[in-house]
């Protein structure tokens, strides 16, 4: 199955390096522009009557949560491709994606906690969404731990890819079960969510920043894949040098 010329940077490492050399900075600049625009419109929006200025944390927190899930989809997709096609580039992409996704998840949890303290009076509550995101972080960490523990890189990559796919199947199950658990054990929480019908004056900055986050994710992912490819090349060269 040959990809068209425009897309073959996804398959051929040399083409990937050539394309990512300009694509990563472009995405980074786009991310900066979008996040900047979103923050500017967000800061200039009127303060929420209920939450005051702390509603601005929402602009950092919510897109991070969206990206944490998007990151796992990317991880599972890259793992699937690396297993099916035995593709080194897909394997490098999966390895590069995991810490990035874990970082966004941790950011979501941390900023959520900072937002929760003034809102609910609690740093942490065991409700459905928080518990689900915490389990997602554990999935990421398990992937990274498995990858790091096996010495042979090819073997580690394939085992981790199997785990990523098992996790992808399990993630909806975990999400459903945690939601169900939450309705069974109604906590004493008194928080009200930011509002399913978000006012337009907040929705636009939120979407801008979310797009900016996604562009940032793409840029960082490309940079990390490049670093992984260089690391592999360096390792091959050092092994060759040691052999002489």
């Amino acid at each position: 199955m040959t990809l068209p010329r425009a897309l073959d940077f996804l398959a051929v490492p040399e083409r990937f390096m050539a394309v990512s050399t300009w694509l990563a900075p472009v995405l980074g600049a786009l991310a900066a522009a979008l996040i900047g625009a979103g923050l500017w419109t967000g800061v200039s929006a009127p303060s929420d009557y209920q939450q005051g200025a702390t509603v601005l944390i929402m602009f950092i927190h919510v897109p991070a949560a969206w990206l944490s899930m998007f990151g796992y989809i990317c991880l599972a997709g890259a793992s699937l491709l690396s297993l099916i096609f035995r593709h080194a580039l897909a394997d490098a992409a999966a390895k590069a994606c995991a810490p990035l996704g874990a970082g966004f998840t941790a950011l979501a949890l941390a900023t959520g906690s900072l937002w929760g303290r003034p809102m609910w009076g609690a740093w942490w509550v065991w409700d459905a969404r928080l518990t689900s995101v915490l389990v997602l972080l554990l999935f990421y960490l398990g992937y990274i731990a498995l990858r790091a523990s096996i010495e042979d890189e090819g073997r580690a990559g394939r085992a981790a890819a199997i785990l990523a796919l098992v996790g992808a199947i399990n993630l909806p199950i975990v999400h459903f079960s945690v939601n169900w658990w939450n309705t069974l054990h109604q906590g004493a929480s008194v928080f009200r969510p930011g509002g399913p019908t978000l006012a337009l004056v907040y929705l636009i900055p939120l979407l801008l920043i979310a797009l900016g986050y996604m562009a940032a994710f793409g840029s960082l992912w490309l940079v990390r894949i490049r670093a992984e490819l260089w690391r592999r090349r360096a390792r091959v060269l050092s092994l060759q040098a040691a052999g002489r």
Binding site: L138, F139, G142, S149, L165, V174, W180, H185
Partner: protein, 220 residues
């Protein structure tokens, strides 16, 4: 068929031999005994959480013997023979996980009601504790086997298996605890049990495929 029976006999001998069930039961007893030492022996307080902790301790105790599921065969070359043999590796994985369930999770399931009552739970909880222990034990054995296969040949195998497998244990833990709470509240536990059984069935159906893939990967 003869080969399959021979494999079953081998796996059961390996799982039951060397004090397998006794070790798991002793660990479970230690966990259960330590809880009042940590949480205080006030009966009402203990009774609120006790049966749920007994249920969670089931999951933790089944983590213990997971590492030996594939590791010894991998180290002494028996796994390579099994791969080359007439029985598909997926079926071998099923037999191994089944032996694990019968030797470790089964006995633990029958110790669970004792633990639940000892920790202050109502006696009416006993049948449900056995049922959730058995159904959950199937899930723990098969999903745990998946973790054991993935961690083959890795450093820090035991802890790695736990880290990989515990997030996957979250749904059965939730469903089992919901069933126990339903019995305590006098409500129907049917939904929780059905979901627990569904998770166990999915584990039995899907994890042998992943276990075999992981074993083949480790042998490359």
């Amino acid at each position: 068929m003869k080969g399959f029976l021979a494999l079953m006999r081998r796996e059961f001998n390996l799982a039951f031999g060397g004090g397998g069930p006794l070790l798991a039961l002793t660990f479970y007893a230690c966990l259960v005994a330590l809880l009042p030492l940590a949480a205080g022996r006030n009966p009402t307080q203990l009774g609120l959480l006790g049966p749920d902790i007994a249920w969670l301790a089931l999951a933790l105790a089944s983590l213990l013997s997971l590492e030996r599921l594939f590791e010894h065969d991998y180290e002494d070359g028996a796994l390579e023979l099994l791969v080359m043999g007439p029985i598909p590796l997926e079926a071998v994985s099923v037999v191994k996980a089944l032996a694990q369930f019968l030797a470790i999770n089964g006995p633990l399931a029958f110790a669970a009601p004792i633990a639940a009552i000892a920790l202050g739970g109502p006696v009416s909880l006993a049948p449900m504790a056995i049922l959730t222990g058995l159904l959950g034990g199937v899930a723990f054995a098969f999903v745990g086997g998946l973790g054991a296969a993935l961690a083959l040949g890795a450093k820090r195998g035991g802890l790695l298996v736990a880290v990989v497998v515990l997030p996957l244990f979250a749904p059965p833990v939730i469903f089992g605890a919901a069933a126990l709470d339903a019995v305590r509240a006098g409500q129907s536990s049917l939904m929780a049990l059905t979901l627990l059984a569904a998770y166990a069935a999915a584990a039995v159906a899907l994890s042998p495929l992943a276990m075999a893939a992981a074993c083949r990967n480790a042998l490359d």
